[in-house]
Structures are given as structure tokens and as C-alpha cells.
């Protein structure tokens, strides 16, 4: 359980918490996208902080001695995750543009009302 009580992990939890709150309770589509990006940043920060090992070296091959070097898996994971996050954010923003073009607003309640009026 020690893993859950370190400072970086607490900031990850805060970031993720704020992000989930925004994604669920905000009605503006852009704010939802921001919320989801916050969650993604939180998770990425968590992955990076997992890579830290006390007394070991960062896995950068320069002049540093190579013994006692940590496995660079978390860094690789984070890079992949950032790329995926870019793709999802870009796609969601593209949908936002389409929604704005069709409905002239990004407030989800107003969009829902407009769609209801149209179907009736």
C-alpha cells in the first residue's frame, strides 16, 4: 500500500479526480475534452513516476555508467500513451468542430434540446 501514499501519486490522483469530475459534470464539450486530457496527463504522470527507483540510474545512454540502470519500460509506455492521447484528443476536437458547425453551440443541454425539437 506504500505505493499509494507518495507525493507524486497524490498529485496523479488529484489530476485524475479533477479530470473525471470535468468529464462527467461539465456540459460544455470543450471542457469535457479538457477533463479527459487532464485524466490522461494524470495517468501519464503516474506511469513516469513508476519508473523511479531509489539508487538506480535513469536509462539515458550518454556518459553515465550503464550498470544499475532502470528498465525503460514506463518511459516507453508513457510515450505510447501520449501519442494515443494526441490521437483521441484530436478526434474529439474534430467532432466538436462538426457539432459546432451543425448546431451552432457546444453546450450539450442545448444540443440535446435542439435534437429533441427536430425529432418532434
Amino acid at each position: 500500500m506504500k505505493i499509494l501514499l507518495d507525493l507524486p501519486y497524490i498529485s496523479c490522483a488529484l489530476l485524475i479526480g479533477f479530470g473525471v469530475y470535468a468529464a462527467i459534470f461539465k456540459s460544455n464539450l470543450i471542457k469535457i475534452v479538457i477533463g479527459l486530457s487532464l485524466v490522461e496527463r494524470g495517468v501519464n504522470l503516474f506511469l513516469v513516476s513508476l519508473g523511479y527507483r531509489e539508487g538506480a540510474r535513469a536509462p539515458i545512454f550518454t556518459y553515465a555508467p550503464t550498470e544499475n540502470m532502470v528498465l525503460p519500460t514506463p518511459q516507453a509506455l508513457t510515450l505510447t500513451s501520449i501519442v494515443i492521447g494526441l490521437a483521441t484528443t484530436a478526434l474529439m476536437l474534430a467532432f466538436c468542430i462538426q457539432v459546432y458547425r451543425k448546431h451552432g453551440t457546444l453546450e450539450s443541454d442545448r444540443i440535446a434540446r435542439k435534437l429533441k425539437e427536430k425529432s418532434e
Binding site: M1, I3, L4, I16, V20, A23, L29, I32, L36, V39, E40, V43, F46, L47, L50, L71, T73, P74, L77, T80, S81, I84, A87, T88, L91, M92, F95, C96, Q98, V99, K102, H103, I111, L115, K118, S119
Partner: protein, 513 residues
């Protein structure tokens, strides 16, 4: 260097390459592109058949990506695997076969369907990408890789949901679906991170062999289950299903249905292999309860719908509920007793049946929409005169979903009722009741579309679309007549593989548990 040996890698690689080659080939000629996509999908289907026959005969396969030898899981004296390993067992192979089949049928259908929608090259790109993601998801033995394929399917699926860009509702639906998918993907990644922090590994088999069920492990399990329940659209997060299924073009919808089942496969992999069925009894209860609520909500919401595709989408929610209920019951019984095994087999068999019958219903809905341009049930009516064959196909699909005897849905639902009854009669009674309501819903749907006074003049439907739907109808009747054979040759080995945690681990780490 045989094709059997490399089939897992080819199954992911070919659709992925084809997805990005399609727009390039499309620049040269549209016909060439159609032939190319067809050849790729046919080859994938052949590979899937090869893989499943090999896996059922010789047991679980491992394929190390980028290794010297595909079977060398622990290179140079390491005690844990560091490369990405694909590990298809009989359950994965069953899902792969199903995905490849739906890919082929979806293509046959979309050949004439999508030309009228415009931008077929973009459609095929997204379609192949979705297929690639699903095939990878179903075969991978690596948690992070699982997340990557999970996101590939999410992105491609949402692209397909928003494909009809000229319609007012499609982008809204795609945005809503994407929100749920992204959130579930990130929750999944958080769980992966927690497990990595504990065990410094990402390989499912290795983590499963070391798992100590500490607080962090349980948190990770909860995150996985929550994320995958969101992905399959069970009750607390089912609102994306009518949006996504309702707005996507019909051939994309059947790919989305199988994508949902791929999520369910992930749930099974986490519960059975990663955490072990012997520990999962109370999770089984939870899943069974969520499944029952999904059935109720899906069926009851479908009664009030007036939009053709949204109505069918709500019945799809209830079908997912049946699978969850059966698989949960099997887990609650730890899969060992007589009825626990039957429940698992019923659930897995229902995955198989649901994709086919739900697929047929969605394809028929797509043809009705193509012929009339209307989705409002109040404005449809009397189409049976002009669309006799489609009426028959729709009836077959609808009755199979409702679970009537000569069709495939009956065979799996009977197994589910029988076995769940022994866990708790209330679940079984509710499921049976909902099946009856479901029958009513489909009879009403059939009546309001095909019978009564004629309100619209339908256009002609291209032959290719009817052919693809007829193939699914043939499968429904074939499985409905010979359910025992399918269960014995495909479903039972799949359930056996799911239960065999030690065998799955042993393939990667010599010595097993």
C-alpha cells in the same frame, strides 16, 4: 517458417497494413481497392480458420513479437518475459474467427452500400483498422499491448460512428461514444500502471503467476472491470450504445457489435486468467446482477423507442446483459460444478450467436433505411409487398434475438436459463420474462415496418447487400439446427481454455504456477 506458426502476427499485421494501403490504392482505381480489401479480408478469414483448428488441436499458442524464434518466451536466461507476446488460446481463436467472419460479411454488404454514402476509401480504412484492433485485442498476452489495441478499436469505432458527417446527430453521437471509450481506456491504463508498479512486468501470464491479491491488486482488478464494463455498454454506462449503434452505417454497426464482444472477451481474460476464477465468486455475483439489470433496462427502454436503429440498439444492450449474466453465474459457481460450466458455455455460445443474429437485424435495418431513407417507425409501413425477402430475413433475425426455437438464439438462451436458474431462480425468471417482452418488441417492429398500410415506396436494394444478410441467416438456421455440434467443437474448448489458468501461464513461464 510456416504460415501456421506466424498466423497470430499476420492476423494483426495484414489488416493494419491494408488499412493504410487502402486510400493509396483507392487513388489508382476503385475496383482495384475493392478487390484488395476483399482479398485481405478473405486471407484473414482463412488465417483465422487455420489458427482455430491449430489451437484446438495443439493447445494454446505463444508468439513472441520481434524475438529470434516465435516460441522463445524467455530470451537469454531472463526469468520474466520482456518482449510483447501474443498468446491465442481457444477462446481467443473463437473470437478471432468471429471477427474475421463479420469482417468478410461486413465487406460484402458494404460493397454496394457504402458507394452511395460516399468516401468508400475512408470507410474501408476505418473498418480495417477496427478489425486490426479487435484481432490484436483478442490475441495479445500483454497488458499494455491490450490497452493499445483497446484504443485503436475506440478511435476507429468512433470514426465509424461519426461517418455520416452530413447528418446532424452523427457527430454528437460520436462525441458521446468517444467520451466513454476514452475514459474507459484511461481507467484501464491506470490499472495496468498499478500492476506494473507492483510486479515490474506487463505480461498477463507472468503477472498472473505472481499475483498476491494485495490492496493494490484488488484496486487494479476493480479498475479493469469498471473500464471493460463501460466498453461493453452494460447498465451504468449503456447510454453510448443507442447513439453509436443508431448513428453508424449498418456494416459499421455489426463491426461495433463484435467490438463490444471483444471488450467482453477482455473482461473474461482479466477475470479468468489474470485473477483466476477460484477467487472471482463475488465478482461473478456482481456481474450477474449487472447483467440482469442490463437485460431489464435494455428491454424496457426498447419498448418506448420510435427510431428503428435505436430500438434495435437497446435490444443489443439486453443481449449483452444475457452474456454478462451467464458468465457471472459461471464465475459465481467457480465454473467447476455442473451448472457453472453450462453457464459459461451458454455465455460464450451466446457471444457467438448474438453477433450473428444481432448483425442480421442491423443489416436488415440498414437495408430498410437505404430503401426508404426513414428511421421513424410511425412513418414506415407495408413494406412486405416490395421487400418480401428482406421481411423474411428480418423475421429470422428478430426471432433469433428473441430466442425462439428453430434459431440459434434459443439454443444458447436455453443453456443460460437452465444454469442460471440453479444459481438463483430470480435471475432466470427475469431473463425469461424479458425474452418474452423482447419477442413482443420484435413482433411489433415487424408489424409496423412490413405490414399494415403502405406509407412509402421503397427503392430497389442491391443484390450484394441481400446476399451478405442471407449468409448470416443461413448461419442462424444452421447453428439453430446443430447447436450441439457447435458447442462441442468450438465453445467447449474455448471455455476449457478460459478455465485453464495454469496452462496459460505455463506456456510463457516454464514450470507454470
Amino acid at each position: 517458417m510456416s504460415i501456421v506458426e506466424h498466423s497470430p502476427a499476420l492476423l494483426v499485421g495484414i489488416p493494419l497494413l491494408a488499412a493504410f494501403a487502402t486510400p493509396l490504392i483507392s487513388k489508382a482505381s476503385g475496383k482495384l481497392r475493392d478487390i484488395f480489401v476483399f482479398l485481405c479480408l478473405a486471407f484473414i478469414f482463412a488465417l483465422a480458420v487455420v489458427l482455430i483448428s491449430d489451437v484446438i488441436q495443439n493447445g494454446t499458442r505463444v508468439y513472441v513479437m520481434g524475438g529470434k524464434l516465435p516460441s522463445l518466451t524467455l530470451p537469454s536466461g531472463k526469468t520474466f518475459p520482456i518482449r510483447i507476446i501474443l498468446e491465442p488460446d481457444a477462446m481467443s481463436a473463437l473470437m478471432v474467427l468471429l471477427t474475421a467472419l463479420i469482417g468478410l460479411i461486413g465487406f460484402l454488404y458494404s460493397l454496394q452500400f457504402i458507394r452511395a454514402e460516399g468516401a468508400p476509401d475512408k470507410f474501408y480504412t476505418l473498418f480495417m483498422l477496427l478489425i486490426a484492433g479487435m484481432l490484436g485485442l483478442e490475441m495479445t498476452g500483454d497488458l499494455f499491448n491490450f490497452f493499445v489495441f483497446f484504443e485503436i478499436t475506440s478511435i476507429a469505432a468512433c470514426g465509424l460512428v461519426g461517418f455520416r458527417i452530413s447528418e446532424a446527430t452523427s457527430s454528437v453521437a460520436a462525441f458521446r461514444t468517444m467520451t466513454i471509450y476514452t475514459l474507459s481506456g484511461l481507467i484501464l491504463l491506470l490499472g495496468v500502471g498499478l500492476l506494473y508498479g507492483e510486479y515490474d512486468a506487463l505480461n498477463i501470464a507472468y503477472i498472473a503467476s505472481k499475483l498476491s491479491f494485495s490492496g493494490v491488486d484488488k484496486l487494479a482488478l476493480a479498475l479493469f472491470i469498471g473500464a471493460l464494463l463501460m466498453k461493453i455498454g452494460s447498465v451504468p454506462a449503456h447510454m453510448w450504445v443507442p447513439d453509436a449503434y443508431g448513428e453508424s452505417p449498418a456494416p459499421a454497426t455489426i463491426a461495433l457489435v463484435i467490438n463490444t464482444q471483444a471488450g467482453l472477451y477482455g473482461l473474461l481474460r482479466v477475470c479468468f486468467t489474470l485473477f483466476g476464477v477460484s477467487r472471482a465468486a463475488h465478482i461473478g455475483w456482481l456481474l450477474a446482477i449487472i447483467g440482469t439489470i442490463s437485460i431489464l433496462v435494455g428491454v424496457l427502454a426498447s419498448i418506448y423507442q420510435n427510431d428503428l436503429k435505436r430500438l434495435i440498439a437497446y435490444t443489443a444492450v439486453s443481449q449483452t446483459g444475457y452474456m454478462l449474466m451467464a458468465l457471472g453465474a459461471g464465475m459465481a459457481a467457480k465454473g467447476e460444478l455442473g451448472f457453472g460450466r453450462t453457464a459459461l458455455e451458454g455465455g460464450v455460445f451466446h457471444i457467438f450467436n448474438d453477433v450473428i443474429s444481432m448483425g442480421l437485424v442491423f443489416l436488415c435495418a440498414g437495408m430498410i433505411y437505404r430503401a426508404t431513407g426513414i428511421r421513424d417507425l410511425n412513418k414506415l409501413g407495408g413494406l412486405a409487398g416490395k421487400m418480401r425477402w428482406i421481411a423474411v430475413l428480418f423475421l429470422i433475425g428478430g426471432l433469433a434475438v428473441a430466442g425462439l426455437p428453430p434459431f440459434n438464439g434459443f439454443a444458447s438462451k436455453l443453456m443460460i436459463y437452465e444454469s442460471v436458474y440453479k444459481l438463483n431462480p430470480i435471475f432466470s425468471a427475469l431473463a425469461l420474462l424479458c425474452s418474452i417482452i423482447l419477442l413482443g418488441v420484435y413482433v411489433r417492429l415487424f408489424y409496423s415496418i412490413f405490414l399494415g398500410s403502405k406509407l412509402v415506396e421503397p427503392q430497389r436494394i442491391p443484390k450484394g447487400m441481400i446476399l451478405a444478410s442471407s449468409l448470416l441467416a443461413l448461419l442462424i438456421i444452421g447453428i439453430g439446427l446443430l447447436p450441439g455440434m457447435v458447442v462441442k467443437s468450438l465453445v467447449s474448448p474455448a471455455v476449457g481454455a478460459l478455465m485453464d489458468k495454469a496452462g496459460y501461464i505455463g506456456k510463457v513461464i516454464a514450470g507454470g504456477m
